[in-house]
């Protein structure tokens, strides 16, 4: 099968959607499919052979923050050329409602389109204003995928229609087979995420830490992620600060070893999550998970069966749960076991097969993808639109 994948975010900037697309593309290539990924990228960044650059993304203020987007004539032309050259059986667009490559591809393509909605942001003002334009582009999509039941609900509320739920994939064995690192073992709590982004929840964990350390003074908190370390420990009493270790940004290998080593992985995120891939990674590595009870997290953790949940933003509840878990090795072992069994459904072998099933379903009754204006030259398009050639 010839598969085209459209990535809306810069390939040079690491991010969840980009990793998802990279893994998906490589999975399909291993199965012998032909894959081409269209992504924004600087012209001088080295790209894997299956990635085609759609030009540099421009930073623009959008939806309350600065987003790097692709639009304009040049990008539209590149999208069109990519569609034309690719002759894809199916085109898979990620995040089609962001005003970037996804939307451009929706406009320009004709034929079986599949779209994955990653975020579950509430509808922005801009989207309400552009609703009718958006609707005209989005109604070309033959199959919609939401990454979680929560994302599906937001999608149905905001755009109408329906979607199938296929979770994000993880290479479970990569994490399960990583070697633990001795210096990260022994009564350790792990946290991975941007330090300076409050919604990742490190401040909540910092607030809970004195209580945890009062109960278990030997415990250490290991933090992996970018951000200002001084600022992060500011709220802690001076004498407790040495109990927190910052590892900075870690490589994929170290992330896997980190998750294999810690006794408890804590995800105190306070909101804005539509899936929670890090929880899946932690469970793959066999780390017991304690997470805030966000909708998306509760779903990934099977409503608390595969990992423990605490009331969101409640530092006391977090401290209490962490102390109870760390003091109960039998419960930790049980969580490890349940997590490892539960996480198999997120493995690429399952997720990839599901996505391929979607492709097969939409291509079953349809022709290949073409750039939308190609049929005008054959004489059916424009005349048909005027109602002169319709049956």
């Amino acid at each position: 099968m010839r598969i085209g994948i459209v990535c809306p975010y810069s390939w040079d900037v690491p991010g969840g959607v980009q990793f998802h697309i990279r893994d998906l593309a490589e999975y399909f290539i291993r199965l012998g499919h032909e894959v081409s990924v269209l992504a924004p990228a600087d012209d001088d960044t080295p790209l894997p052979p299956y990635v085609v650059s759609a030009g540099r993304a421009v930073p623009v203020p959008y939806n309350g923050s600065v987003a790097r987007l692709n639009f304009g004539f040049l990008s539209a032309a590149r999208v069109r050329r990519w569609l034309h050259d690719g002759e894809f059986d199916v085109v898979h667009i990620h995040e089609p409602s962001s005003p970037s490559l996804g939307l451009l591809a929706c406009w320009a393509a004709q034929g079986p389109l599949v779209a994955t909605f990653h975020t579950s942001n509430p509808r922005s003002k801009a989207m309400i204003a552009a609703y009718s334009i958006l609707q005209a582009a989005l109604e070309k999509i033959s199959a919609r995928i939401a990454v979680s039941e929560y994302a599906r609900r937001t999608l149905v509320e905001h755009l109408g229609g329906d979607a199938v739920v296929i979770p994000n994939g993880v290479d479970v064995d990569f994490f399960a087979k990583a070697k633990p690192k001795p210096e990260w073992q022994g009564d350790t709590i792990g946290f991975i995420g941007r330090i300076d982004e409050p919604r990742k929840g490190l401040p909540v964990l910092m607030k809970a830490l004195p209580k945890i350390l009062a109960g278990r003074p030997q415990t250490r908190l290991l933090v992996a992620g970018r951000g200002d370390e001084e600022e992060a420990v500011e709220s802690l009493p001076e004498e407790l600060r040495p109990r927190v270790e910052f590892l900075g940004m870690v490589s994929d290998e170290d992330k896997a070893r980190f998750l294999r080593s810690v006794d408890l992985y804590v995800a105190p995120n306070t909101g804005g999550e539509s899936f929670g891939i890090i929880l899946v990674e932690a469970m793959s590595a066999g780390a017991p998970v304690l997470a805030s009870d966000l909708d998306a997290f509760a779903q990934v953790l099977d409503q608390g069966a595969a990992g423990e949940l605490f009331a969101n933003e409640d530092a006391d509840a977090l401290a209490e749960a962490a102390l109870r878990l760390l003091g109960d090795p039998a419960r930790l072992a049980e969580l490890r076991e349940r997590g490892s069994a539960h996480v198999r459904r997120f493995d690429w072998s399952t997720v990839g097969a599901d996505i391929l099933s979607v492709y097969e379903t939409v291509t079953a009754g349809a022709a290949a993808v073409a750039a939308a204006d190609e049929d005008r030259t054959t004489g059916t398009g424009f005349m048909a639109r005027l109602g002169l050639a319709r049956d």
């Binding site: 004709q110 079986p112 609707q135 005209a136 109604e139 070309k140 033959s142 199959a143 919609r144 109408g160 229609g161 329906d162 979607a163 199938v164 069994a341 539960h342 198999r344 459904r345 399952t350 599901d354 099933s357 979607v358 097969e360 379903t361 939409v362 079953a364 009754g365 349809a366 048909a384 639109r385 005027l386 109602g387 319709r390």
Partner: protein
């Protein structure tokens, strides 16, 4: 005077272009429904065939075979109006027959059973997918067709008002459970 005429002409052309664009959208949506319906039909047929094959292959006990055969046969032969009911009944029969994991294991152990079980798993997973995509297309087309501009200018032509395909497509738990 001529200026007014030109403006009227420009406005008419603009309206005409807008309507033609809307007609194009509608046309595309109808094509999408047709493709989705064809895909759904194919998946339903595939599911019924696999079920019928299993029912006649003697890997199941006689009672289960008869139940499954009946349902699969009815689903394949159903008239358009009875289709939704017949397919729902096939879903129920499949759920009844494959309620327990050992039953699925039994099929897998039989010669050629591994492939049959895989085909059936595929089929029961793809039917709900295809149905969701179909009904999503139907919803989009209905939303557009209810719009004033489409009704007043009869942009939909003689195309029948699209109907959603409603059925019970819940797959048997033992077949789709992925937990290792």
């Amino acid at each position: 005077m001529t200026a007014t005429l030109i403006w009227i002409l420009v406005a008419l052309v603009a309206i005409g272009l807008y309507l033609s664009w809307t007609a194009g959208r509608l046309d595309r949506l109808h094509a999408r429904i047709d493709a989705a319906r064809a895909a759904l039909d194919a998946q339903l047929l595939r599911r019924a065939s696999v079920a019928q094959e299993l029912a006649t292959s003697a890997v199941l006990d006689p009672a289960a075979s008869i139940v499954l055969y009946e349902a699969a046969h009815a689903a394949r032969q159903a008239e358009e109006e009875q289709r939704e009911v017949a397919e729902s009944e096939l879903s129920q029969a499949l759920r009844a027959v494959f309620a327990e994991a050992p039953q699925v294991e039994g099929v897998r152990r039989a010669p050629g059973g591994e492939a049959a079980a895989r085909e059936l798993t595929e089929a029961v997973r793809k039917v709900p997918m295809a149905r969701r995509f179909h009904n999503d297309a139907v919803r989009a087309a209905r939303a557009l067709r209810r719009h004033r501009k489409v009704r007043w200018f009869r942009l939909a032509g003689h195309a029948p008002f699209p109907m959603a395909f409603e059925m019970d497509d819940e797959p048997p738990a033992a077949l789709v459970d992925r937990a290792a």
